[in-house]
């Protein structure tokens, strides 16, 4: 499944003081927001947090778009922001949990996603951050290794390692269910 096409190059990032870049960004934002929320959710597990992260990523993308320097690959750029900020968010939540959870903190209420395979995504979130990012982009967006590498800002060979290790870890963690599901 592909929810986004190949990463397009954008020549519209050069602000011209008119409405052109804004209209182009509008279309970009409308087309990308749901996918960005989904990516953020796979890494945070919280719909509210995911919407915030996606919102921040779009805002950051727009600021870069609007500054006049241009963004060569806005889809990749926005996903990179989502991937990094989602991990930041999770780390912060972990710190709060360690501090507050020890004395009774409760999780934020989560919005139910009724048909979502939470066990699968929970297992993704339990992976090391870089593996989780690569796995999320792999399954959620069916992106090839080269595009994942561009989004994560690393070498394709590194992505291959993350995917290899991540998939093996997931297979081990989900083995009974996955095998059952494959029958």
């Amino acid at each position: 499944m592909t929810v986004s096409g190949p990463i397009p190059e954008s020549g519209v990032g050069q602000a011209d003081g008119g409405a052109g870049p804004d209209i182009a960004f509008d279309a970009f934002a409308r087309g990308q927001r749901r996918a960005l929320v989904a990516l953020a959710w796979t890494l945070t597990g919280d719909v509210g947090a995911a919407e915030d992260v996606a919102q921040d990523a779009l805002h950051a993308t727009w600021q870069a778009w609007d500054r006049g320097g241009g963004i060569r690959h806005p889809e990749a750029w926005a996903r990179q922001v989502v991937a990094n900020r989602a991990v930041d968010r999770v780390r912060r939540a972990g710190r709060e949990r360690r501090a507050l959870g020890l004395v009774g903190a409760r999780p934020d209420p989560t919005v139910d996603l009724p048909t979502t395979d939470h066990e699968f995504w929970d297992a993704v979130r339990a992976l090391p951050a870089r593996q989780a990012q690569a796995i999320a982009l792999h399954y959620l967006e069916d992106r090839p290794v080269a595009e994942i590498a561009e989004i994560l800002g690393c070498a394709p060979a590194t992505v291959k390692v993350h995917l290899h290790r991540g998939r093996r870890a997931l297979a081990a963690a989900l083995a009974p269910e996955t095998e059952e599901g494959s029958r």
Binding site: M1, V3, G17, D22, F25, D26, A29, R33, R34, A35, V37, A38, W41, T44, G45, G48, A49, E51, D52, Q55, D56, L58, H59, W62, R85, R89, R91, R92, A93, G94, R95, R97, R98, A99, L100, G101, L102, V103, G104, A105, R106, P107, T110, L113, T116, D117, F120, W121, A126, Y139, L140, E141, D142, R167, A171, E177, T178, E179, G181, S182
Partner: protein, 550 residues
């Protein structure tokens, strides 16, 4: 790789792709619900068109997105039990401070031999010096003991903690509630799990709490349900967990007053006036007073009474921590990254150690590299006579934070004062009512700050948003219906009329205004934001944005 491995990975891939499909389907369905479920007649119009309803149309605006921290209110929403009590105590301190303009809560512990920095990064100077409150004076104390396996690679990877709260029932808010009813050492207790909090740790954590004669005991750990319950059975109000209740290999890692949590919360968010008290415990913030950036570079130095055994409690707040030495004594250094727009945006480095006179010293750097923070710590020197008193006198109140210019291409829609700083809603001058068009900036205290774009979705109707910090609630959003007035209102309380503002090039006005955070405190009813037309008929209502925030 074996055939079996291939089959498992194939099955995983099928499951992963199916999981992606169902997630996207769920999110799509959720988005549709947000837009139309509460009012099916509300059209999802393009961003550049006006809804122009022919008849008064009540649009129930979507649920608010949780605000991102860090900000003091966030912790109140997140926390229960101890943290709620701590917040209540902080509130009591605040009230005492506000009544006559001077703190009247004394700090416990004996006089401290204060230390002050002998070296600071260039440009930093004292901007705020406050006393750290002693919550015991407000009838509350909390002590914690933390256990782990000292022989493991990371003894703090699966901590087990026991917290003893001493407070009357009113402060505690009644016995523990929620979760599963269990019996611990003959007491009725409540057991809860912490899964789903999103820190990626498999297994989560369990927590059990119950009332004791003078307050409450809570045992919590990133362990199994059975291990936490076994530990609870062996818990005492010392507080301690007797050996029979500890997992194999576990021993005490740290012990000290848990009221430290208030201090750390303040440190990470900038020490705010809410936490001011009076006494010998001291927190001094060093920054460049001419720095108008929302996110300041700063160093905070805090000193208060405390045992050496409490040094490692810093790890409860910054998991990425290492043992080091400062002044040839055991110390802990921790590093963290906070969210963009927060005081810790450029990174937080915290160092804590104990001086032999029974005082804990904590140095926290915001946007200051680790080497510099360590240099500040190592350079701490005994204060000269009268030096601390002069600091307190000169910097008891931090100079109000002021904004610099708005960023190029943006315009300030509305600006206002908060208790110790400013807020402003910023719009992009050229753009329509669209994604990223509205941003809230806030600065307060010595280093507290928020900069965030929120509440401006791709699809109308757009959420209103609220931000509660520094004694002031700011409400903002785009008004998508024709209305003559917008008010925040609740039963029995004077309504607040919220200003609307035209933005050049925008097709809809922007709601942006603020009111004191205690304005609706006396109302027991719902706080709503209501838009009305010229005839006084309601045309839009938001019942969620101020729920708990006003």
């Amino acid at each position: 790789m074996s055939t079996t491995d291939d089959a498992r990975l194939d099955a995983l891939d099928r499951r992963g792709r199916a999981a992606a499909r169902t997630l996207l389907d769920d999110l799509a369905a959720r988005g549709a619900t947000t837009l139309v479920a509460e009012h099916p007649a509300a059209p999802a119009v393009p961003a550049t068109e006006s809804p122009a309803p022919p008849e008064p149309l009540v649009i129930h605006l979507g649920r608010p997105t949780p605000r991102r921290g860090p900000q003091p209110a966030r912790h109140r929403w997140l926390a229960a039990a101890v943290v709620a009590v701590l917040a209540a105590v902080a509130g009591a301190v605040t009230v005492a401070t506000r009544d006559d303009g001077r703190p009247d809560v004394s700090s416990g512990g004996g006089p401290l031999d204060h230390l002050l920095p002998g070296w600071l990064p260039a440009g930093l100077e004292p901007v705020h010096a406050i006393d750290i409150p002693d919550t015991a004076a407000a009838g509350f104390s909390a002590d914690v003991a933390v256990y782990g396996d000292p022989d493991s690679d990371d003894p703090w990877s699966a901590p087990l903690a026991v917290v003893h709260l001493v407070a009357d029932e009113e402060l505690l808010g009644g016995p523990p509630s929620g979760g599963e009813a269990v019996t611990v050492d003959g007491h009725e207790a409540r057991l809860r799990d912490s899964e789903g909090f999103g820190d990626g740790s498999p297994g989560g954590a369990w927590e059990v709490g119950w009332q004791v004669d003078d307050g409450m005991l809570i045992v919590s750990g990133a362990l199994t349900r059975e291990e936490v319950l076994a530990a609870a059975e062996a818990a005492t109000t010392e507080p301690a967990i007797e050996g029979s209740g500890l997992p194999d290999g576990y021993a005490e890692l740290a012990r000290g007053p848990f009221t430290d949590s208030l201090l750390f919360t303040s440190l990470f968010e900038g020490v705010v006036p809410d936490s001011a008290g009076e006494g010998s415990a001291l927190a001094v913030t060093y920054a460049d007073p001419s720095d108008t950036d929302a996110v300041r570079t700063a160093v905070v130095v805090a000193q208060r009474s405390g045992p050496a055994s409490a040094v490692d409690l810093l790890r409860m707040w910054i998991p990425d921590a290492d043992a080091i030495t400062v002044h040839d004594r055991h110390a802990v250094i921790g590093r963290g990254d906070e969210l963009p727009g927060s005081a810790g945006e450029a990174g937080v480095v915290a160092v804590q150690w104990a001086e032999p006179e029974g005082q804990l010293v904590t140095v926290v750097g915001y946007g200051v590299d680790e080497e510099a923070v360590l240099r500040v710590a190592e350079g701490m020197r005994p204060a000269d006579a009268g030096e601390v008193a002069a600091l307190r006198d000169s910097h008891a109140v931090a100079a109000p934070r002021r904004f610099g210019e708005v960023r190029a291409g943006q315009v300030a829609v509305a600006t206002g004062e908060s208790r110790t700083g400013q807020w402003r809603i910023v719009a992009n001058a050229r753009r329509g009512d669209n994604i990223g068009a509205l941003t809230i900036d806030r600065v307060w205290g010595a280093i507290g700050s928020t900069s965030s774009t929120t509440g401006d979705r791709v699809e109308p109707p757009l959420d209103l948003q609220a931000d509660d910090a520094d004694g002031t609630v700011v409400v903002w959003g785009v008004l998508w219906v024709d209305a003559a007035s917008v008010t925040a209102e609740a039963p029995g309380v004077e309504p607040v009329t919220l200003d609307t503002h035209e933005v050049d090039g925008w097709s809809h006005p922007v709601v942006a205004d603020a009111f004191p955070d205690d304005h609706f405190a006396s109302s027991s009813g719902e706080v709503a934001v209501v838009a009305r037309d010229a005839a006084g008929r309601e045309v839009a209502r938001n019942t969620t944005v101020l729920d708990g925030g006003g």
